[in-house]
Symmetry: C2
Subunit: 350 residues, 2 copies
DNA sequence: TGTTCTACGTATATCGTTCTACAAAATCTT
DNA sequence: AAGATTTTGTAGAACGATATACGTAGAACA
C-alpha cells in the first residue's frame, strides 16, 4: 500500500511536479497553480514552491502540459532562410517572448511561388505539435488557407495586408507609402523614369499596395508615362531575366525599384555585367534595409520597415490571442527611406 | 454503461486514435502499432487501419506521443540567421526527413561569441519539448557542454571537429584541406603574401584546423615569412576594424582568406572604400560558397563545403542515434574551391 | 453568535498516445 | 496428433501535467 503511494523516486529520471510537491510539502495541484500563475495562491505558498522548483532544478515537460493545457510554444513560419530581413523579425519576436514562458520554434515553408490552398505540411506539423499559436511571415499563403488556419489556431500574419475578418491579426508596414517614398526620392534625385520590379505571383495585397503606391506617386509627380511594372519570382534566374529584359529595352528606365533587397542585389549584378554604372546610368532601390545594403559594393538605398518592431508586435498580439482575444487587430508601422549611393544624385554633378 | 463505453464522439474535436480504432473495428493498441510501424501487424490489419486513418483524416498528436514515446521532432540549432549557408544545411536536413515521420524545428542560439558552459536557454527549451534529438550547427558551444548534452539526448554536431567520445556524432568538411586549397589557389594565381582573417574566440578546432591548413600550406609553398593570421568576431564592426588594420600595414598582404563569405563581403567593402581594387590590389577568398558569391559586385572565390550534403548526413546520423546507435560516427566531406573574379589572375596581365 | 463570503489548497479525473504482458490463433516439428 | 514456436491482436496501466469540483479557514456582516 505504502509502496504504491510512494513511487520510489528513481534517481536518474527527470524531476516531476510530484517530487516538487513532495519537497515543498504541498499538493501537486498547488505546484501546477504556481507554474501557471493561476488564481488562488498565497505569497507564502508561491515562495515555498518556487524554492523547491529551483532547488530540484525542476522543468515542466511541454508534452505533458500540452495534454490538457498549453505547450507554451509558438510557431514562426518563414518563407525562406536566405533573406536576412527575417532575422530582424526573429529578434523582435524573441525580445517580446523574453520574460514569458513562451518559446518560439521556426520552420521554413518551402513552397516558394506555389500558392497552396491546402495548408502546408509544415503548418500541419506545427498543429500536430500543439503550438499554442502561429506567426506566419510573408505573402506566400493563400487567403482562404489563412482564414481556415486562423479558425483552428491563434494566428498572426506578418506582411499581408488582406484582412481575414476576425480570423487573424496582421502586422505590416505601410507598403503603399513605402513605394511612394521611393518614387519621391528617385524623382527628387533626378531619376524621372523609374521602373518597378515587382513579385509574381501577386497573391497578397502587400504586392498590390506597393504597385498602387508606385503608380499613384508616379502620376502625381507627372511621370505617368514612364510607369513600367515588371514581375519576377524570387528565383535567381527569373530575376536576372527580368532585369536583363528591362535594361535591353530601347528606352530603358533610369532607375529600378526592386521588390526586395535581394532582388536589388541581383539587379546591381546584372546591370554591372551589362556595363552600366550605378547610379550614373541606373539607380537602384531596394526594400527591407537589410545589413548587406551597407556594403560598399552594394551601397543600396532601401526602405526600412523596422523588422524588429514588426516581430515584437506580432508576438505581443499573438499572446493576446492565445489569452483569449477573438477580435482582429492590425498593426502598421510607417516605412522610412535610407539613402545610400545606389540612388544618390550623380556624384559628378554634385 | 453503454454511454461510458462510447464517449459520444464530439464532432468539433480532433480525431483520436480511439475513433480510428473504432472505425476500423480493431483495438487502440493495433492502431498504435500501425502508426509506429511496430512489429506484429498483418498486412490485412495494416491496410484496414491505414484506410480508416485516411478516411477520418487522422493525425496523431505529438504531445500525447511524447508522454510515452517519441515526438518525432528534431531540433535544429543555428548560430545565426543571416548566413545563407545555413539555408543549404537546412534543405539537406529536410531532404533526409522527407519520407520519415520526423519534422525539424529550428531555433537560433543567439549567444554570439560568448562561450556558454551551461546549456543555453534554447537547448533547454528544446529538451523540455521532448525533441527526440538535436542537430547543433557551428562552433559556438563549449566542448564540455556538448558532451553533457550528448549524454542527455541524441546529438549530432555540424562544424565542429573535436570529438566527444561516444557522446555525439560530428559532420564536417575537411577544413584543413579547405584552407590548403585556398592557399594553393592564391599562390598559383600569383598572390604570394595572403593573410588569413580567422574567427575569435577560437573555441572549436574547426578554426584551428583551418589555421593549421593555412600555415602548413604556406610553409610548403615557400611563403612561410608571409604567414599572418588576424582574428575577429562575427560582429560587423570587429570585422571592419580588423580588415582596415590589416590593409593599413606597411607591407600589407596581397590577399585575404576570410573565415566566411560574410566576412569576405565585409572585406571587399572595406577594401573598396580604401580605394583598392580587387583583385588587382588585393585578392579575397571566402568560405561556404553562398549564393551571394555569384553576384558580379562580389564575384567571390570561395570554398564549397556542400552544405546540403552536410545537412543530409547529419539528419541521417541523428535518426540512427535515435534508433539506438550509441557509438559515435564522423562524416567528412571534401571541400572544393570555386574560382571567381575576386582571386583571378590580374585581368590586365592576362 | 450565526451566516455568508472570499481566499486558499487539495483530491482526482482526464488528456491521447505508447508499452508491457498476455491470450489466441496459426504455423512448424516431430 | 501433440507439443513447441511464432505471429497477430488485445487489455489496461502508465506517462506528467492541467482543470474541475470541492473542502476548509478566516473575515465580514448582520
Amino acid at each position: 500500500m505504502s509502496e504504491k503511494d510512494t513511487p520510489a523516486t528513481r534517481p536518474g529520471e527527470r524531476i516531476t511536479i510530484r517530487e516538487v510537491a513532495q519537497d515543498a510539502g504541498v499538493s501537486v495541484a498547488a505546484v501546477s497553480k504556481v507554474l501557471r500563475d493561476a488564481y488562488g495562491v498565497s505569497d507564502a505558498l508561491r515562495t515555498k514552491v518556487r524554492a523547491s522548483m529551483a532547488k530540484l532544478n525542476y522543468r515542466p515537460r511541454a508534452s505533458a502540459r500540452g495534454m490538457r493545457g498549453r505547450t507554451y510554444t509558438i510557431g514562426l513560419i518563414f518563407p525562406d532562410l536566405r533573406n536576412p530581413f527575417f532575422a530582424d523579425i526573429y529578434s523582435g519576436v524573441n525580445a517580446a517572448l523574453e520574460r514569458t514562458q513562451y518559446q518560439a520554434m521556426q520552420g521554413i515553408n518551402t513552397t516558394s511561388g506555389a500558392v497552396n490552398t491546402t495548408s502546408s505540411a509544415l503548418i500541419e506539423a506545427m498543429i500536430d505539435r500543439q503550438m499554442d499559436g502561429l506567426i506566419v511571415i510573408g505573402p506566400n499563403i493563400d487567403m482562404q488557407a489563412l482564414i481556415n488556419l486562423g479558425e483552428r489556431v491563434p494566428l498572426v500574419v506578418v506582411g499581408h495586408h488582406d484582412r481575414g475578418g476576425d480570423a487573424f491579426d496582421t502586422v505590416n508596414n505601410d507598403d503603399q507609402l513605402g513605394a511612394r517614398l521611393v518614387v519621391r526620392h528617385l524623382v527628387a534625385k533626378g531619376f524621372r523614369r523609374p521602373a518597378m520590379l515587382s513579385l509574381t505571383p501577386a497573391t497578397s495585397s502587400i504586392i498590390q499596395q506597393r504597385e498602387v503606391g508606385y503608380r499613384l506617386e508616379m502620376m502625381e509627380l507627372g511621370c505617368g508615362e514612364a510607369i513600367n511594372i515588371v514581375r519576377a519570382s524570387q528565383v535567381v534566374r527569373d530575376v536576372q531575366v527580368a532585369v536583363r529584359r528591362l535594361l535591353s529595352d530601347a528606352n530603358r528606365p533610369d532607375a529600378i525599384f526592386c521588390w526586395t533587397d535581394l532582388m536589388a542585389f541581383e539587379a546591381i549584378s546584372v546591370a554591372t555585367e551589362m556595363g552600366l554604372s550605378i547610379p550614373e546610368d541606373l539607380a537602384i532601390v531596394g526594400y527591407d534595409n537589410t545589413i548587406f545594403c551597407d556594403l560598399a559594393q552594394n551601397s543600396l538605398t532601401s526602405v526600412d520597415q523596422s523588422g524588429e518592431l514588426l516581430g515584437l508586435q506580432a508576438a505581443r498580439m499573438l499572446i493576446e490571442r492565445i489569452d483569449g482575444r477573438t477580435s482582429a487587430e492590425h498593426f502598421i508601422v510607417p516605412p522610412r527611406i535610407v539613402a545610400r549611393g545606389s540612388a544618390s544624385a550623380t556624384s559628378e554633378a554634385e
